[in-house]
Amino acid sequence: MAILVDRDTKLCVSGVTGREGSFHSLNNRDYGTQVVSGVTPGKGGQDVEGIPVFDTFHDAVTETGANTAMVFVPPRFAADSILEAEDAGIDLIIAITEGIPAHDELRVYNHIRRGSSRLIGPNCPGILSPGKANVGIIPAAFFSEGNVGLVSRSGTLTYQIGNELAGRGFGNSSIVGIGGDPVPGSSFIDVIELFETDPETELIVLSGEIGGDAEEQAAEYIGEHVTKPVVAYIAGFTAPPGKTMGHAGAIVSGSKGTAAAKAEALEARGVRVGRTPTEVAEIAVALVTDPT
């Protein structure tokens, strides 16, 4: 088993005819993912090396039974594409696009959240379930099947940590990049909840960074609901404090958003926090060798 994407994933790619879109669609298909269709308005009827292209998601779903969408269109079109995928009844929407305006993300989030579809991203590297399916831009060659569930706000940092784990013999059940935007469609908590019930996942690794309070919220959730061991990493201990002009943000968050505060919140709930990606892997080894 794995979470979110697996052998039953039937992927439809929005922006499949674009340069990056076609490259990664074919890459995902080469990995074994069922890439059943793509959407590019005005290019319906064409195909990308055998992947049929439709004008709308609705046509793509009707004709190819797609249940998962990957959104690869430029930011100007991405919110609309996500909404279209949802309207067409797609269960899981993975938005790779970076730079979607925040108010668009907010509307999309609040709309999707009240329906039955799930959104991962935007501004995320996608999801890899090694040996089963790869949806997105994660370089799959570095990862193999295994029992570590990895969830991360950052793309390349995910690869770094996954790589450190792989170096010590760990494989992954699934690797989920939730994206670094202020309003990710799914949070650490949403993904950790899935790992907790996934029989294949035995260890959960959370990779966070400064800003917001998603890690603090995750810490609380883990303390209350998660029985599996969790190791965390937080990037940005030495990052300079951001220049922010008004005071409203600081008052609302109630959190300093610093790496230290996040690490503290996690450790208070029994989550061990590695100070470097390498240390995360070392903790994972220790936990598996001597689970306490």
Partner: protein, 379 residues
């Protein structure tokens, strides 16, 4: 993208948020002409992207032309907490009866806009929120239904303002929300929100942050983009579309992806080094972008060694290697480069570097190893 007060007030006016009459000025002459036009007394205000202008002497009341000229001259060119004053705003003076606070901001935690209101404005509201949390009223707004009259009523009644102010303050909040959404703002903050002696309600200050990702649909806002307060490397980086933040150390850092770059800073610091910058080359960087990034890093004279930490996903390691080699070819620098390449096309990338065989190029196979190496080389 932060706006200067006068720019924010321009947006406020457009959306019906009442503000005092005022005019921007770039010279003493313009300021005096504006003051004459607006009438006396008026206020000469420094326009800088930093708080605490008043305490720093950047806001002065002018009761006649002589004072206007004097203050404008004194404020222009002033340094306020590291920001030089290039721009003034001349505004009609208001008679203050009450000072409130109002803001809309993204609450990342609840993933909804948050409306904020307090009767304790004109002061450091972060302190108010800490010492007297009840004085800061906050309500979430569902972005799909928007700011409703009941939100305004909650804020104003719960804050306990006088009955005659409920409607005008409510109307101001509604207009402020409209500005927040329509202009793709991440923050709109009014401190103080003024009640005048004649019981009018006006925004006396304006702090507005615009979402840079949304600028494509606000061509009128692009001209507000300011390079004020940026250091030369930051300006160079922005011109090249790179994300760069200047730091105090001597180790130049380049990575792909903000998370990995932050992690690299941490690891270098743990190894005992001091980063000179944060530079995220972004996803899918082409050789040219890498070349430009190297130029930016090396334009900082403090840099004694550089660390490239790349884990390729969209980014292809061979492109990075090619960009780096081109840069070194052009710049002819002796600064040592420690390079760690992993991910997409890493073999090809490493091969290119090996082939070039430059004396100041030091390949490393792990992030930790690379961090240790660069600290050693930087001395």
């Amino acid at each position: 993208m932060d706006l200067l007060e006068y720019q924010g007030k321009q947006l406020f006016r457009k959306h019906g948020v009442p503000v005092p009459d005022g005019q921007p000025a770039k010279t003493v002459e313009e300021a005096v002409a504006a003051a004459d036009d607006l009438g006396y007394p008026c206020v000469i205000k420094a326009q800088v992207l930093i708080g605490g202008r008043g305490k720093a002497g950047g806001i002065k009341l002018a009761s006649d032309r002589r004072e206007a000229e004097q203050h404008a001259g004194a404020i222009l060119g002033m340094d306020i907490r590291g920001f030089k004053v290039h721009q003034l705003y001349v505004e009609v003076a208001s008679e203050i009866e009450e000072e409130y606070y109002a803001a809309f901001v993204f609450d990342r935690s609840a993933k909804k806009p948050m409306a904020m209101f307090s009767t304790r404005g004109g002061v450091d509201v972060e302190e108010v929120a800490e010492t007297d949390p009840e004085a800061m009223r906050m309500v979430h707004v569902d972005p799909l239904i928007g700011f409703q009259e009941f939100h305004a009523r909650r804020l104003t009644f719960e804050a306990g303002i006088a009955g005659d102010l409920i409607r005008p303050v409510g109307a101001l909040l509604a207009s402020l929300y409209e500005a927040f959404v329509t202009e793709d703002a991440l923050l709109v903050e009014v401190n103080p929100l003024l009640v005048t002696k004649s019981r009018d309600v006006v925004a006396l200050d304006a702090k507005v942050t615009i979402d840079a990702s949304a600028l494509y649909r606000h061509p009128d806002l692009q001209e507000f983009r300011s390079e004020e307060g940026m250091d030369p490397q930051e300006r160079m980086a922005r011109e090249r579309g790179l994300t760069y933040v200047a730091l105090d150390g001597n180790i130049g850092i380049l990575g792909n992806g903000a998370g990995l770059v932050m992690s690299t800073l941490d690891v270098v610091a743990q190894a005992g080094g001091e980063p000179a910058n944060f530079l995220d080359a972004g996803g899918g960087s082409k050789a040219e972008a890498i070349t430009q990034a190297v130029e930016v890093i090396l334009s900082n004279e403090n840099v004694a060694a550089v660390l490239f930490n790349i884990f390729g996903g969209i980014t292809r390691c061979d492109e990075v290697a090619r960009g780096l080699l081109e840069a070194l070819d052009e710049i002819d620098s002796t600064v040592p480069f420690v390079v760690r390449l992993d991910g997409t096309n890493d073999k090809e990338g490493r091969a290119l570097l090996a082939e070039a065989d430059l004396p100041n190029l030091h390949p490393e196979s792990t992030m930790l190893g690379a961090a240790k190496k660069v600290v050693e080389l930087a001395g």
